[in-house]
């Protein structure tokens, strides 16, 4: 099963779990499975049309899925998927 790494700001929606193992064929399947198990994640990951939000980056290995096949990027057993939302802190 592929491993998905949840970023620290979103762990409150996954019972503080940092790594999850998900069985799916592509990125879309992973996100569907993830939001099915953790419904509160949905609005943070997907827009109203069900697309991955543009301020949430998904990397398969070290590649941005925008440079692969987007949500259709295939997932293998050993694949590590990272979700990395935009954060803006620094000064305050």
């Amino acid at each position: 099963m592929a491993t998905i790494i949840i970023p620290t700001p979103l762990r409150k929606f996954t019972n503080n779990t940092a790594r999850l193992n998900i069985q799916a064929g592509n990125v879309k399947g992973v996100v569907e499975e993830l939001t099915l198990n953790f419904p509160d994640l949905k609005k943070h990951l997907l827009d109203d049309q069900g697309n991955i939000r543009s301020f949430v980056n998904v990397f398969v290995g070290d590649e941005d899925i925008r440079n692969l096949q987007q949500e259709n990027t295939l997932i293998k057993e050993e694949t590590v998927i990272s979700i990395v939302p935009a954060i803006a802190g620094g000064l305050a």
Partner: protein, 386 residues
């Protein structure tokens, strides 16, 4: 000044000795540091360690932009400041601290908020920018200003236990331009979906780690030593101690420097980030255009939405319907001809136009730009201004 012309005093040579003796750094890199000008935007959590290390390292000119004052809740992570500085402007406290750390460098301070109006002017003077701000509008502002001016932008950001670092808009040795923030994150999250550090908190040592990495990348950009994070995106999860580095690329659809750029100057970043509510545009007319309509004898209606006492001071013969009463008087507004709505400066009349359009479906309303004051300036200077 070219770095080759840089000279060091005996005291400086002694101070920078541990840099100069590194074989891959040496005298040349130290000269480049002294010749360089770095602008650090935000002197808080990230700016504190970045500024301390950049000053200590001998960056010749350091600019600091911050409009905040030191608060006691800052001291948990903003290691530039002490108890004595509480209540003082951060840039002044930072300058004092950095000058005591290294008297051989210049510190320039900007005790102001970076805005679309001043960003280009300030950033233009520097070679490298280090962005350590705390909100999305300023992130996009700094990014776009750096792209428009061709300045490398060393980016760092933190939230709770997570840090991010990259180098944007950097031209490598092969002359290739790297990605920028808009390639990584095309649009910001809507307000409310992602809390700020002020709401969500941050572990104090995290900005120390990430701000130091930011200083490291600034030094690499200046000196050309090593490989910068251009084209790579580093993230650090302090909870699991998991650093990860991803590849990032330029996006042909980037609105600032993609294939068909649509942003050629700085925009309203608060509006872009949804901090300001987006208002539907309304039709406008200038005082001169209104005057021309009157001269041509066109059949129009003029509505004045000010208060009666303002009407007494000066008026242009419009029908007085104060803003608070426009809905109740909607039947007095003609639908068959152009209706010009005005107030003193154009704000109240814009509200009146929106209210009438939304509630009653008017399509023939025009807001007088600049209000009666604009009219007095352009058409009837003999009327009383107030």
């Amino acid at each position: 000044m070219s770095y080759e012309d840089i000279h060091f005093s005996k005291e400086e040579l002694s101070r920078y000795d541990r840099h100069i003796i590194i074989p891959d750094f040496g005298f040349e890199a130290q000269k480049k540091l002294k010749a360089s000008k770095v602008l650090v935007i935000g002197s808080g959590g990230l700016g504190s360690p970045a500024l301390l290390y950049l000053a200590a390292a001998g960056v010749g000119t350091i600019g600091i932009v911050d409009f905040d004052v030191v608060d006691d809740s800052n001291l948990q992570r903003q290691v530039l400041f002490g108890v004595d500085e509480i209540g003082k402007p951060k840039v002044e406290a930072a300058k004092k601290r950095l000058e005591s750390l290294n008297p051989y460098i210049d510190i320039k301070i900007y005790n102001q908020q970076l805005t679309s109006q001043n960003a280009l002017e300030i950033i233009r003077e520097y070679d490298v920018v280090a962005d350590g701000t705390d909100n999305f509008p300023t992130r996009y502002l700094v990014n776009d200003a750096c792209v428009l001016l061709g300045k490398p932008n060393v980016y760092a950001s933190i939230f709770q236990f997570e840090g991010q670092v990259s180098v944007f808009n950097y031209i490598n040795r092969e002359g290739e331009l790297g990605p920028n923030y808009r390639d990584l994150y095309p649009t910001p999250p809507p307000p409310g979906l992602v809390p700020s550090c002020a709401e969500g908190g941050v572990l104090g040592v995290l900005p120390g780690i990430i701000g130091s990495l930011q200083a490291l990348e600034v030094i690499k950009v200046i000196t050309g030593v090593g490989e910068t994070l251009s084209g790579r995106f580093f993230i650090f999860d302090a909870l699991n101690f998991e650093p990860r580095t991803f590849k990032i690329k330029r996006n042909p659809a980037n609105p600032v420097n993609g294939e068909n750029p649509t942003i050629k100057q700085l925009i309203d970043y608060e509006l872009f980030c949804g901090v300001k509510a987006v208002e539907k545009p309304i039709k406008e007319i200038t005082a001169k255009e209104l005057y021309d309509l009157q001269v041509r004898g066109e059949d129009i209606q003029v509505i004045d939405v000010r208060e009666p006492h303002e009407y007494e001071i000066a008026n242009i013969g419009g029908e007085l319907i104060p803003l608070a009463t426009v809905s109740a008087n909607a039947d007095k507004i003609d639908r068959s001809k152009k209706v010009i709505v005005h107030c003193k400066m154009g704000g109240r009349s814009a509200k009146a136009v929106r209210e009438l359009e939304e509630k009653f479906g008017f399509t023939n309303l025009y807001n007088l730009k600049g209000g009666i004051l604009g009219w007095i300036d352009e058409v009837q200077p003999e009327l009383t201004k107030y």
